[in-house]
């Protein structure tokens, strides 16, 4: 029997959601200041409107309190996380939609969802003439989503239910017993990369690209946020090809790898712990190498690239961009669409596998791939060994861990759900008349929060497909469990007793 949530449950959810929406108000101050500095008064007024609306909502939510002494449970955090990724993009559309660069409101919601889920697919029109402050806002959305708007709320506005919110966001691994300390470390890693990353990219902009200091800083900041949070938005419509610089691409590659690394791995490296036997490191290195080799072989076989240097440069950048879930590109969507056969397979598989857990990357993730491979190996070993022989089912991740039946069930369940999600989006696109290849490619790109596109995602795509991709980005980012909790909560509200 379903138990109908009490009024206190609804109050508690509204209270926490309001606090998170308050973070949006704080974040919008940055593009507002930028708009004022660049004298983009029209955009500034929209950011003021956004700040006003979100502040009022947060203030109202702050007054909605559950009864004293009420504890927040696991499913509560999941519901808040799922609702956060639905409602925050809606508020975030204010400056996007008002910019006039979207033909319908859903397009601006698509971009906001794409930003907050660190996907990087975009349906914006005439990006190259978008006001800088609005462009910055798109990238800040990626930064907020990547660093975890929930974590930001925990850090600045921490209160009850902190741990359940943290788990609801799909970051399973905890490095510290205290979630606030974990959040601080995540922001410390981000701050260190921001200082170094933005500085180096700014210097590249000034001395290699020939930009002025202000322009170089703007491009460095936006690209940093998109790269480190494995987002994929870029300030210019031609993505990373705009810079046409191998040095720039190498710098971005380092940031993409950093973004796809789990924060547990960052913590281990920072503390001089051995990571060479870590299951995620080994799996990521293996799958990246395989997909990279497959992509390079494919590019030669279809005759797309037949020279050593461009083969290394283009093949490596796209395999890395796909596997880390970033979505940057140095070729156009039309050219990417011509990558058939093994090149298509290499990039598509890399996208589907994704980066490491507890990172900003999406997809099935290296930990699950590694555990699935280990579980299958152990099963074969058990079958081959004599009856009664015991196979030690363990793996290395910050120490020796045991592979239990619950873990294996969870790994295979989530992995299968991802495959189902990839196929679902492809089926919708197929039903609307798209070819299988592009349909599958775009579906994986949306579900695994990558952002590479072969041209299906465009301002004139059918509304049904656009809504499907929005749903895929949302579900893929939250890794299913939070969505199931939200659906369960909604069903309990309607049918519960």
């Amino acid at each position: 029997m379903l138990l109908r949530p009490s009024l206190d449950d609804h109050r508690s959810i509204a209270h926490d959601l309001g606090r998170i929406i308050g973070v949006v108000a704080m974040a919008a101050v940055v593009p507002l200041m930028w708009a004022i500095a660049r004298q983009e008064w029209y955009a500034a007024s929209h950011f003021l409107l956004l700040i006003g609306v979100t502040t009022v909502v947060a203030a109202i939510a702050d007054r909605i309190h559950p009864s004293p002494g009420r504890s927040v449970d696991w499913s509560h955090g999941m519901v808040v996380a799922a609702l956060t990724w639905l409602t925050v993009p809606a508020f975030a559309t204010v400056p996007l939609w008002a910019s006039g660069h979207y033909s319908r409101w859903v397009d601006s919601y698509f971009d906001a969802m794409s930003g907050l889920t660190t996907t990087g697919l975009s349906v914006i029109q005439d990006l190259d003439h978008l006001p800088e402050s609005v462009n910055l806002w798109r990238h800040i959305l990626q930064f907020l989503g990547g660093q975890g708007i929930v974590l930001a709320a925990l850090l600045f506005l921490a209160g009850s239910g902190a741990l359940s919110l943290f788990e609801g966001e799909g970051r399973e691994h905890r490095m510290f017993p205290n979630v606030r300390t974990t959040a601080r470390f995540i922001w410390l890693v981000s701050a260190a990369h921001a200082v170094i990353g933005i500085s180096v990219l700014t210097l590249d902009g000034i001395f290699v690209q020939g930009f002025g200091p202000g322009r170089a800083f703007f491009h460095a900041t936006t690209i940093f946020m998109a790269a480190f949070d494995t987002g994929g938005f870029t300030p210019m419509s031609t993505s990373i090809a705009y810079y046409n610089s191998p040095i720039f691409e190498a710098l971005v590659a380092v940031l993409m790898v950093a973004g796809a690394m789990s924060f547990g791995l960052h913590h281990a490296i920072w503390n001089r712990r051995k990571v060479a036997n870590n299951i995620e490191v080994r799996t990521f290195a293996f799958t990246l190498s395989v997909t990279l080799i497959v992509t390079i072989l494919g590019l030669v076989l279809i005759g797309a690239i037949d020279q050593f240097y461009p083969l290394v440069r283009v093949g490596l950048f796209h395999a890395l961009s796909a596997h880390t879930g970033t979505g940057f590109s140095t070729v156009s969507s039309a050219e990417l669409a011509r990558w058939s056969g093994l090149a298509f397979a290499g990039i598509a598989i890399a996208m589907a596998l994704g980066g490491m857990s507890s990172s900003t990357a999406g997809g099935v993730k290296s930990l699950r791939i590694g555990l699935a491979m280990r579980a299958m190996r152990d099963t074969v070993r058990e079958a081959l060994l004599p009856d009664g022989a015991v196979v030690a089912q363990t793996y290395h991740q910050y120490g020796v861990q045991r592979i239990g039946p619950n873990l294996v069930r969870s790994v295979f369940s989530i992995s299968l759900l991802y495959v189902a999600l990839y196929l679902f989006g492809a089926a919708v696109a197929l039903s609307l008349g798209y070819d299988l290849g592009p349909a599958l490619f775009e579906s994986i790109s949306a579900s695994a929060a990558v952002g590479l596109s072969v041209g299906v995602v465009s301002p004139d795509m059918p509304l049904l497909l656009e809504l499907t991709y929005i749903a895929q980005m949302w579900v893929g980012r939250l890794e299913f469990i939070a969505i199931a909790a939200l659906l369960g909560f909604a069903a309990s509200t309607v049918f519960g007793k």
């Binding site: 410390l188 890693v189 260190a192 990369h193 170094i196 190498a250 590659a253 380092v254 790898v257 950093a258 690394m261 960052h266 490296i269 920072w270 503390n271 001089r272 990246l288 190498s289 990279l292 080799i293 390079i296 072989l297 030669v300 076989l301 037949d306 050593f308 083969l311 290394v312 093949g315 490596l316 395999a319 890395l320």
Partner: protein, 40 residues
């Protein structure tokens, strides 16, 4: 102050590992490209 310097050193060490990882991938890509171009 000492704590900040320690964390800064740890951060730089972490980024050095990331740079090394990218260099490793570049080497794999170069070897793969050379092998594929030689064989195909």
């Amino acid at each position: 102050m000492r704590e900040m310097l320690r964390e800064a050193a740890a951060g730089i060490r972490g980024m050095a590992v990331e740079v090394a990882a990218v260099i490793g991938v570049i080497v794999i890509a170069a070897l793969a490209a050379a092998a594929v171009l030689a064989l195909v």
